[in-house]
């Protein structure tokens, strides 16, 4: 590999690393802001420690056993979710939210996947432009006619436009793809919340039935009563917070989309204008020379 190719490759890798870094940083920031904005979570001690402790936190990753536990928990949860999901909710709000979230989640998943594919094609197209630029460069250095300067100029142009195209792909990734991915996970989390509420509801109804049975048999009435009251209380609390959370979810979603879509459009515009200027100036020079 020649020196030029080496430096070019180094630059490319640096640009890629920078793009990935930007993405990760943005994700982390969104996460922390979310936690901080939440009225309950912001008071969590773990959160405070995370923000303030200025030495290494030494967080242990999940070992194999814990991962396996997680996996089984998920399986149980999804099975349960199917059972619980069949129960029709009395509250209209929650019923509507359930159907909405289900549909939304699926569509976001689809959009996220297609967006990723689109961005990948964009990246491979810009890689091709890179190869074209280097071929044109070799042609330019080898050619002995008028064309050599021409080729060199076009090669230079393609180098620059390729950088811009790569940045477009990266920005699209950052603003659009990540947004969709985030909301994919958020909608999943919202679905989980609803599941927990439905679980609580089922428990509450079961407790009611148990109480009625106990009253009928006139045995363990007090026990049944306390458990019923507990589950009722749990259910009502979860319903209340769920309602609040879901409304927040909507507002957050709207503002996040707005922010990202606006930024996406602005960046696309900026890059397109930059590209246009490069191309126009190059065409002007080439036309002037011929």
């Amino acid at each position: 590999m020649t020196k030029e190719e080496f430096t070019k490759m180094k630059q490319e890798l640096e640009a890629e690393y920078l793009a990935i870094f930007k993405k990760t940083v943005a994700m982390h920031e969104v996460f922390l802001c979310r936690v901080a904005a939440h009225p309950v979570l912001r008071k969590d001690l773990n959160f405070h420690v995370f923000l303030e402790y200025n030495q290494d936190l030494s967080v242990r990753g999940k070992n194999k056993k814990e991962k396996l536990e997680d996996f089984f928990k998920n399986v149980v949860k999804s099975a349960d979710g199917v059972l619980v999901g069949g129960v029709k909710d009395v509250d209209d709000f929650f019923e509507h939210e359930k159907t909405f979230l289900l549909e939304y989640h699926n569509r976001v998943k689809d959009a996220s996947a297609k967006c990723d594919r689109m961005i990948r094609s964009h990246k491979s197209a810009s890689d091709d432009i890179n190869r074209i630029a280097s071929s044109l460069y070799t042609l330019g250095t080898q050619d002995s006619t008028d064309l050599c300067k021409f080729f060199l100029k076009v090669s230079e142009l393609f180098e620059k436009t390729r950088k811009i195209e790569a940045r477009v792909a990266a920005d699209e990734d950052l603003k659009l793809a990540d947004l969709l991915k985030y909301y994919l996970r958020e909608s999943q989390a919202a679905k989980d919340l609803l599941y927990r509420r439905s679980r609580a509801l089922v428990d509450y109804e079961n407790a009611n039935k148990a109480l009625d049975k106990a009253r009928a048999k006139n045995r363990d009435v007090l026990q049944a009563e306390t458990s019923q009251q507990l589950s009722c209380h749990k259910f009502e609390k979860i319903s209340e917070s769920a309602k609040q959370e879901l409304i927040d979810f909507k507002t957050r979603r709207v503002s996040a989309f707005r922010k990202n879509l606006v930024e996406l459009a602005e960046l696309e515009l900026k890059h397109a204008k930059g590209n246009l200027q490069l191309l126009q100036s190059c065409v002007g020079i080439l036309k002037g020379n011929t």
């Binding site: 569509r107 021409f150 142009l157 065409v283």
Partner: protein, 511 residues
């Protein structure tokens, strides 16, 4: 033919002066007149008038600028050479000589440059006013015997055609037939004949089967555009455009079917055998190149070939990825539209549908750009890769000519040795007869050797001119097309800006 050559006597003398001064041909000046004419008679096996003009001018390949100093005197012989030798006997149906010359005569005043090449270019540049369009592909026939007929429209102010504008219907095998005729006439004397578009069994079968889908439409369009470029390149060549086969192809409404171009015909098999034989021969011929120019040019074309192929591959890959991008963008647009539908916040829902619309428009933009990538850039490169193969073929022919010359020279040598040996034998009765035989053979071979040498010189001269013309065309072609391509990129970006600018207020409107 020789009568014609002697037609304008005064000019002949000028010409002879020139000859004497340069003293090129070893023959005495008296035979000089018949020299070129006979050269042409032997040179061209079929009907053509191409090389004749050239043999008159390029006496001394090394001293190209010798003519330059004798510029004024070159005028009249050149003109009159055209007058006398212009249209070969083959162009019988066409008008008498003067019609070919009228365009030339008008440019007397222009012939005051010092470079011979420039003269050629001026002549070519000013005469070149032809425009050929290939259009209206329509399917004729049914099933496996179906074929596409293309309308070939020619617009030309040149008076050697009967009308200024005319069109004919041609099919693909007609084009291939034209190319094979031109190749058999001109390639072996050093002219770079533009290669015809390639056959494609898969593509054609799809069209024949009758699937009116995207890919077969694309195939037909690709072919139509390739045929148009092929014809334009052929008529840009100053010699080829006057060829009777080309004129017949462009003008006559009925053309005999070129069956020899079918891949599975006997001619096709013969072609394959010849190709194999050629490849073997190429490996065995070891030419000692006396002219550094040729070696340099061959190297140059080799390098160019490699580089262009690489570039072509990258551009094809770009076309592929851009098409993919377009498809994926369309899919994303649909998905975003669905997302917008399920979103219950009205402003966001509207914004998402707008995003979907923008992406849909952008996917169309990518599709158009991919087409531009292909038709402008990729096809240009593909054409030039094939053209360079033709150029390399021409260089190979030169080697073959050299080989022929060397072979006949060796044979002559052997005969001479045999003659010398005969001198020393002691068989008087057979001696005289054998001596006469050998003398005859030697004379024959001598003529052959000289012919071979002349052929070799001729082909070298022709190749030099052709290569310089080719390079000029290449520079022009690349510049024009790449600028066009860049302009297409400019347009794409401008459209993109419009679309995103329209979207931005919608995104901002989300409350």
């Amino acid at each position: 033919m020789s009568d014609r050559a002697r037609d304008p006597p005064p000019e002949r003398t000028d010409f002879e002066e020139l000859e004497d001064a340069d003293d090129l041909f070893p023959e005495p000046a008296a035979t000089e007149e018949s020299g070129p004419a006979s050269l042409t008679a032997e040179d061209i096996s079929t009907n053509s008038n191409g090389p004749k003009q050239d043999s008159q001018f390029d006496e001394d390949p090394e001293d190209l600028f010798a003519e330059a100093t004798e510029e004024v005197s070159l005028d009249s012989p050149e003109r009159d050479v055209l007058l006398s030798d212009g249209p070969s006997p083959a162009i019988t149906p066409i008008t008498p000589p003067t019609s070919v010359i009228t365009p030339c005569l008008g440019h007397d005043d222009m012939f005051t440059h010092s470079s011979f090449d420039e003269i050629e270019e001026e002549e070519g540049g000013d005469l070149f006013d032809m425009h050929i369009a290939v259009s209206d592909p329509e399917k004729v026939g049914d099933g496996m015997n179906a074929y596409m007929a293309y309308k070939v429209t020619t617009k030309t102010p040149m008076s050697m055609f009967k009308r200024g504008e005319f069109s004919v219907k041609r099919r693909f095998s007609d084009f291939l037939g034209l190319h094979s005729k031109l190749a058999s006439k001109y390639l072996h004397i050093g002219y770079i004949v533009p290669p015809a578009p390639e056959k494609s069994i898969v593509g054609m079968t799809k069209v024949k089967v009758g699937k009116e889908d995207q890919s077969s439409n694309e195939f037909v369009e690709k072919r139509r555009s390739a045929l148009e470029r092929y014809l334009m390149r052929t008529v840009k060549h100053p010699v080829l455009r006057k060829d009777p086969d080309v004129m017949q192809f462009l003008e006559s409404s009925d053309l005999p079917r070129a069956v020899n171009t079918q891949a599975l015909s006997s001619a096709g098999l013969l072609r394959m055998v010849n190709k194999a034989a050629d490849a073997v021969n190429k490996m065995t011929i070891k030419m000692n190149e006396s002219d550094a120019w040729f070696e340099e040019k061959q190297q140059h074309f080799e390098n160019l070939d490699v580089q262009l192929r690489k570039l072509h591959a990258s551009v094809e890959s770009l076309v592929c990825h851009r098409k993919e991008l377009s498809v994926n963008t369309a899919q994303f647009a649909k998905s975003a539209a669905m997302l917008g539908n399920s979103e219950d916040h009205t402003a966001l829902s509207r914004a998402l549908s707008q995003l979907a619309e923008v992406e849909e428009k952008i996917d169309q933009l990518h599709q158009d750009q991919a087409n531009a990538d292909f038709y402008l850039f990729s096809e240009l490169l593909g054409d030039y890769v094939r053209l360079i193969t033709a150029v390399k073929g021409v260089f190979d022919h030169r080697m073959k000519t050299w080989q022929k010359w060397q072979d006949s020279q060796m044979l002559l040598q052997k005969k001479r040795e045999a003659e010398a040996k005969l001198q020393f034998t002691n068989k008087p009765d057979k001696l005289q007869q054998a001596k006469d035989e050998i003398k005859e053979e030697i004379e024959e071979l001598d003529a052959k050797v000289q012919q071979g040498e002349r052929d070799f010189e001729q082909i070298s001269k022709t190749i030099r001119k052709e290569v310089s013309r080719f390079e000029k065309e290449r520079v022009k072609d690349f510049k024009t097309i790449i600028i066009k391509y860049l302009e297409s990129l400019v347009q794409t970006q401008q459209q993109m800006i419009k679309y995103w600018e329209a979207f931005l207020p919608e995104a901002r409107a989300i409350s």
